[in-house]
Symmetry: C2
Subunit: 153 residues, 2 copies
Amino acid sequence: MAASTSYKTKQRDQIMDCLLKNKDRHITADEIIRTLNAEKTEVGKTTVYRYLDKLVSQGIVRRYFIEGGKSACYQFMDQNNGCSRHYHLKCVDCGQLFHLECDYLGEMDSHIRDHHDFHVDHSKTVLYGQCGTCAGKFNVRGAAFRKTGGDNK
Amino acid sequence: MAASTSYKTKQRDQIMDCLLKNKDRHITADEIIRTLNAEKTEVGKTTVYRYLDKLVSQGIVRRYFIEGGKSACYQFMDQNNGCSRHYHLKCVDCGQLFHLECDYLGEMDSHIRDHHDFHVDHSKTVLYGQCGTCAGKFNVRGAAFRKTGGDNK
DNA sequence: CTAGTTGCAAAGAGTTTGCATGGCG
DNA sequence: CGCCATGCAAACTCTTTGCAACTAG
């Protein structure tokens, strides 16, 4: 089993805590390191990288490579929401991850499998693009958190 | 705009040639460097990186990061192969990249946009999974299933 | 001739590894 | 006490930059 004896340590608790607090977004290893150090929590970067690696290989955390960014991003994967079945959308603008559950997309999956002979692995696939909110900003970043007029799509 | 005169040099020709020969797959900067050096073509890595950068910013070449890989991949953007319109499938097993052209998937795109308020960017999205061959299955090959090069290592 | 181009070497950034110490169970 | 975890420092990999020499137009 993958249950190779795993000790519960202060550092791991804190890294996991940080991941859970940021489960709605992706976070870099460096951000975790800096966050914890800012809290006077002594955690070496080696530990962070190593633990993150372990979590990724266990499927508990997902690792992404974002366009432009040079470092990897990590995000906690909630095991209870069926992430292995549905698609994931990540906004390249705000970085938010959307879980897409929809029968239509389930059909798409079957379509690709039946008509194109390809088995999509949802745990490794992320559709990149722009979410409605960010698309409504008209390239004005930093401003406009509210969409003004014609935000109906 | 790009009014800055661009000289035609032997090195650039060769880098471009390498990209064109691999237009059906993504290739790393290092692969380009090694390919050219294997052909006794003297091209410094600085030049490769710099030229690649320029091509990317001009939209002539696409850069992306693949799962697991630590280095960036580049691929020539053929204006005629509609890569910006269709989906890409990458077999995590054999590494081959498939260009998926299918009306059904175009509909799916609209569905995501209309029902989930998200604009998928095909130039940044790659669906990961397993191709039929690697899955050990022999299903019907769809007509719209166009296969292109893979990792021939 | 002049501005863009090249490439060595060295700097950087992010990540991994070696190894001795520390701590969970 | 045994085994896993930790973390410093150094190694590594990929990429970028400084700078002097070079070359296409």
